[in-house]
């Protein structure tokens, strides 16, 4: 039932697409403009994926295999870019150098923002790939270069590929950064077809291309992830020995510092400099307070919807290994694949034709958040429920409690930290959401993200800066909390 609810808007979009005049649809699809946007999206995603591999693998190598001073610091620095929404980073660069625009600046900003998607899984794979294999290869006559190429790289390759595909997926779905840096991709095309010309068939056709590409990326990513999961740690594996000549350590530290400066230092520095420089200038504080309040309210409401949708699916998936359960779960993960701009569009189309009263109301927006961030709530609820021993539920039943009472008093009660963590993740992600919010927000309601976007669009960088800083603070909450609870995704 909840999975069906989650799939309704998208299904409706497909239905509308199939009902529209096929010739007009084909014409929209085969326009040179559509192909150009698709090529732009694909090119950008591929470039970012390669860039992330180039930065991520050496970073992972340096933080796991070299004896560096302050090892904890370098790990934190490698994770930190995730706490800066890509459009905030784009804003910081543009606000500092207003001329930046086009393919290469966009690719660079997205690469720096997405590199952790490669760094973190590769670092995990390197930690698991214990040194005994490398040692065995050395005793078989392989020199260090050959060991790297023949033993170590093949073992981390699936993890690296899965990470790179995740970065590509994120880039494909990104709307804010490409808009701010004025590089025209499919997401930008969907939004402008909707906003500018109100051409819903064109918007839907572009969405279809976008979603198809996203599904291909996710399919390959899942394949790679399954391969990566096969690299299990050998039992009793020796912890990898840290090594490195002084020269290699200096080079590594210089490289890590350079990446950190570009991905964190400059964007954050630029924001702080602007804020300090802007002191004394008239600023609309009540407006900031108001949009902060609506951001919090909408985010929490969206997370609540996501958790309510997630709990039945999580319980089914965790307790009953059936085909139906697996199917429901994969439907629920649609939000992970479908870009926000498409979910926004589908809800616009859906509310306008089925329930016009809901168009541009808080309900439609909160529902969109629920669909989009259902996977965030689902993942952690599912593993939390799975970790509750079934024997506890059995015992509760034999003590006279029914199925639902048992779920409430035993299962949910024990799984609550995991469910809450999933809800928090969903809330914080919803607070950063830009494209669906732009399309669905009720008139007069602004969030931090939409304010930043609008002010950047008119080059009011000074007025936008506090919003950017507020967003960085919001985005760093889960990074901080998850790091503290030792959570590994």
């Amino acid at each position: 039932m909840p999975a069906v609810v989650a799939a309704i808007p998208l299904g409706y979009l497909v239905l509308r697409l199939s009902q529209s005049d096929p010739e007009r649809l084909l014409a929209s699809l085969w326009r040179t403009r559509t192909l150009e946007l698709a090529a732009n999206s694909l090119g950008l995603s591929a470039t970012v994926a390669i860039g992330c591999l180039v930065i991520g693998i050496p970073t992972a190598w340096a933080i796991t295999r070299l004896r560096l001073p302050l090892p904890g610091l370098w790990r934190a620095v490698a994770t930190l870019p995730l706490a800066i929404p890509s459009y905030v980073a784009a804003f910081a660069w543009v606000a500092t150098w207003p001329g930046l625009s086009g393919f290469w600046p966009t690719a660079a900003v997205m690469t720096l923002a997405c590199a952790p998607y490669v760094t973190l899984p590769v670092a995990a794979a390197l930690t698991m790939a214990d040194s005994r294999y490398a040692d065995a290869a050395r005793t078989l006559g392989a020199d260090p270069t050959r060991v790297l190429l023949r033993v170590t790289l093949p073992r981390i390759a699936p993890a690296a590929a899965a990470g790179a595909l995740l970065a590509a997926l994120y880039t494909l779905a990104d709307f804010g950064a490409v808009s701010i840096l004025r590089f025209e991709t499919l997401t930008w095309g969907v939004h402008s077809a909707f906003e500018g010309s109100l051409d819903r068939v064109l918007a839907a056709a572009l969405s279809a291309v976008l979603v198809t590409m996203a599904f291909v990326f996710v399919a390959v990513e899942q394949l790679m992830r399954r391969r990566a999961a096969r690299v299990v740690p050998a039992t009793g594996a020796e912890p990898t020995t840290l090594s490195g000549t002084p020269r290699s350590r200096v080079i590594a530290i210089a490289g890590l510092l350079l990446v950190a400066a570009l991905s964190i230092g400059i964007p954050l520095g630029a924001l702080v400099v602007r804020l300090v420089g802007g002191v004394g200038i008239e600023f609309d504080w009540p407006r900031l307070a108001e949009s902060t309040a609506s951001t919090l309210g909408l985010g929490v409401a969206g997370a609540a919807v996501a958790v309510i949708l997630a709990l039945p699916i999580a319980t089914l998936a965790a307790r009953y290994r059936s085909t139906v359960g697996a199917l429901l779960e994969s439907v629920a993960y649609l939000g992970h694949v479908v870009p926000g701009v498409v979910v926004g569009l589908s809800l616009v189309v859906f509310t306008l034709s089925i329930a016009p009263a809901l168009y541009q109301t808080v309900f439609a927006l909160v529902f969109a958040y629920g669909v989009l961030f259902l996977p965030k709530a689902l993942g952690s609820s599912r593993s939390a429920i799975q970790s509750v021993p079934p024997a506890l539920e059995d015992t509760s039943r034999t003590l006279g409690l029914g199925r639902l009472t048992t779920w409430w008093r035993v299962t949910a009660r024990i799984a609550i930290p995991g469910i809450a963590a999933g809800g928090l993740l969903a809330a914080v992600t919803a607070m950063k959401e830009l494209p669906a919010t732009l399309m669905l927000r009720p008139i007069g309601v602004e969030t931090l993200a939409t304010e930043l976007w609008q002010k950047t669009a008119i080059a009011a960088y000074g007025a936008a800066t506090p919003y950017a800083i507020a967003l960085v603070i919001v985005a760093s909450i889960p990074t901080f909390l998850l790091a503290r609870s030792g959570y590994r995704s």
Binding site: R321, S322, T395, S396, R397, T398, L399, R403, V410
Partner: protein, 340 residues
């Protein structure tokens, strides 16, 4: 309340991969007694318990508690308590809250929780959390929790297997006393023969999902229905023999039969039936001596006897050493079964 199981069958798995794990299981446990279901791992013991509790669907057959047919009754209305394998105390509740879990509101206000903790000899522990308890204590709290709503039957799933040997006997005795004091009918499943024989009023031997034998521990031990059961409930060796109705000729001598048999048979000999003698007897050479304190198990190779190795349980002190030659005689009547 007596518990009656009649031709119960059950399957595990789903879709096209269903496997039948219980075949026409029938037995009866009288009101207020303790039954033990004994079987090797994978024999279907735990599934049987879950079927009785209503936690696993049955394919056919009935479960009756007293005069109630439990067909279609959900677990929460069966009045059958469960003590899971490792206790499975609710980790988010204190000991007292665990025991009170199945009580009604008025039950929670009464002194019932303290009474039950007294019953399992854990007075004053109500405020503890499960992780602060030892294995034996957790097991007894789980029993108190199962007994709290005064169920008709209590099921115990391998309740002592996680405890170390020194603790096991004491906890077993406490559990037996608590069950007897409340007069609760109980079924315990175990793969431990000694445990089943010592604690049960009635023994149900289960193998491959089917009942082999039901009877008092003594009946099952002394008169197993077949060779497999005889070897499973206690240590035994088998030797081939030729029976003439009341006697059987074996490499261990001419033995008297417990049950009439004719022709080629397999004879079951238990270690305690083997005695060392000074006079005439079968010669054997000592291979190993396993010393247990109260007695010793001695492995013997029967001289000239076609590679037959038997074990003898001897009262200590034992002065035998490896390589010694002794004479043995089988004192009592033996059981013979058709050649497998």
């Amino acid at each position: 309340m007596s518990l009656v199981i009649e031709s119960l069958s059950a399957e595990v798995g789903e879709g096209g991969e269903r496997i039948r794990v219980l075949h026409d299981v029938s037995f009866r446990i009288e009101a207020g007694t303790l039954g033990a279901v004994l079987g090797p791992s994978g024999s279907g013991k735990s599934t049987l318990l879950r079927c009785i509790a209503g936690l696993h669907p049955t394919v056919s057959g009935t479960v009756r508690s007293g005069s109630r047919d439990l067909h279609g009754v959900p677990p929460e209305r069966r009045r059958i308590g469960l003590v899971p394998q490792d206790g499975a105390l609710f980790p988010h509740l204190t000991v007292g809250e665990n025991v009170a879990f199945g009580l009604t509101r008025s039950g929670r206000r009464s002194r019932r929780v303290e009474e039950l903790l007294d019953l399992v000899e854990l007075p004053g522990m109500a405020g503890r959390l499960p992780h602060e308890l030892s294995g034996g204590q957790a097991q007894r709290v789980a029993l108190a929790r199962a007994l709290a709503p005064a169920p008709d039957v209590v099921l115990l799933d391998e309740p002592f297997s996680a405890l170390d040997a020194t603790l096991r006997g004491a906890v077993r005795e406490q559990v037996r006393r608590a069950l007897a004091e409340t007069g609760t009918t109980a079924i315990l499943v175990t793969h431990d023969q000694t445990e089943a024989l010592s604690i049960a009023d009635r023994l149900v031997v289960l193998n491959d999902g089917a009942v082999r034998q039901v009877g008092s521990p003594q009946e099952v031990y002394e008169h197993p229905v077949d060779l497999w059961t005889g070897r499973f409930v206690g240590e035994a060796i088998t030797v081939a023999g030729q029976a003439d109705g009341i006697r059987v000729t074996t490499p261990l001598g001419d033995l008297q039969l417990e049950n009439p048999a004719l022709g080629p048979v397999a004879v079951l000999v238990r270690p305690e039936q083997v005695h060392l003698v000074d006079g005439p007897g079968t010669a054997a050479r000592v291979v190993t001596v396993d010393y247990f304190g109260h007695d010793a198990l001695v492995q013997l190779d029967v001289a000239g006897g076609a590679g037959i190795r038997i074990s003898a349980r001897l009262a200590t002190p034992v002065t035998l050493h490896e390589g010694d030659t002794v004479r043995i005689r089988i004192a009592d009547r033996v059981l013979a079964y058709p050649e497998p």
